[in-house]
């Protein structure tokens, strides 16, 4: 299996994001803190084969967000996102 086959998109992170946020995050827009590209979370690259879920910028591959869950605890790393615009 090649790396390319492991690449998914933000739709694949929708479930775990729904556990954490009370708004739909795949339709939120986020800004990549590295390159400034703005994309809907549903359209970013997602790798879920790592421990946890890793969201990457589709333009520069920068890690936007990492989410890991284990036994009722979550670790959420959002350092790669400057801001999120969430539709209420």
């Amino acid at each position: 299996m090649e790396e390319e086959d492991l690449k998914l998109d933000g739709n694949a992170a929708a479930g775990v994001l729904r556990e954490l946020f009370s708004f739909e995050l795949t339709t939120a827009r986020g800004r990549c803190d590295n390159c400034g590209a703005i994309a809907e979370i549903g359209a970013v690259m997602v790798y879920s084969n790592a421990p946890g879920v890793v969201l990457r910028c589709p333009q520069c591959q920068n890690v936007l967000m990492r989410v890991a869950a284990d036994g009722g605890r979550y670790w959420l790393d959002v350092r790669g996102i400057t801001w999120l615009e969430i539709h209420a």
Binding site: A14, G15, S22, F23, A43, S48
Partner: protein
């Protein structure tokens, strides 16, 4: 004291048990599972559910499956392709029987969703079982008697691998065109496409004008090739919605 509702805030998505009420063999490898879900709050066409299986020893495996039914349908249906080395799909496609219970949660997602009120024209491009969420959109469009012009370009290995074939024939009308490309085997006298989706094909099936909106679903490489092709044809990036299936989808 009740707290004021905040617009757009979603209820927590909870695991719930559904009753399997019907199983339909779509192709030798693909089965549709219709469920009765007492606590279901509705969905939008294109959304998915997470299905969770629990073994006797407590081991759990979870996978996402696109919803195949329209929001207007009484029962929720998912369509599952059996992946031979999968952990969940062989059970769903082979062992599950009517009367069993299935644990799931949803609806999940919102990016890859279409409402009839979103308008069009609507170009749907599916590879293999990537047609499932697109079928939900077409069923929704029919249930709403939407007049939005739509085209489905469906890539399958052979005619026998086409899911929902009879229903798609019935749904096709003046403003819904269903086109197949059969990439591995074609029946005698086949006059349709017989190759992988490419830019030339997309140029032929794309809508003119401002192109409208496109939804692309299938394996990762399929989705990326089609999305690149649509951008080359002139679709606006934000009007091409994609959903990739991964190898862990089993």
């Amino acid at each position: 004291m009740a707290r004021a509702a905040i617009l757009g805030r979603l209820a927590p998505v909870r695991w719930q048990l559904g009753d399997v009420v019907e199983l339909v063999e779509e192709t030798p490898r693909v089965k549709t599972i219709a469920l009765d879900l007492p606590d279901w709050l509705g969905h939008r066409a294109g959304q998915h559910v997470d299905v969770r299986l629990t073994a006797e020893d407590g081991y759990q495996a979870q996978r996402s499956y696109s919803i195949a039914s329209a929001p207007e349908n009484d029962r929720l249906a998912i369509t599952v392709e059996r992946l031979d080395d999968g952990e969940v799909s062989p059970y769903l496609a082979e062992e599950l029987v009517v009367g069993d219970k299935l644990e799931l949660r949803g609806p999940i997602g919102g990016y890859f969703a279409w409402d009839a009120d979103d308008g069009g024209p609507l170009l749907l491009v599916g590879g293999g079982s990537g047609v499932v969420p697109l079928m939900s959109m077409l069923r929704h469009r029919a249930a709403r008697r939407s007049q939005v012009s739509a085209r489905l370009l469906y890539s399958a290995r052979s005619l026998d691998d086409v899911i929902y074939r009879q229903e798609l024939e019935r749904l096709a009308t003046d403003n819904l065109e269903v086109l197949y490309t059969l990439t591995r085997a074609q029946p005698p006298g086949w006059t349709g496409y017989a190759r992988r989706v490419d830019k030339d094909m997309l140029e032929e099936v794309a809508f003119g004008g401002d192109h409208g909106i496109a939804f692309v679903c299938g394996p990762t490489r399929f989705v990326e090739a089609v999305a690149d092709g649509l951008l080359a044809v002139g679709y606006a990036p934000e009007r091409v919605k994609t959903e990739r299936f991964g190898p862990t989808g089993g």
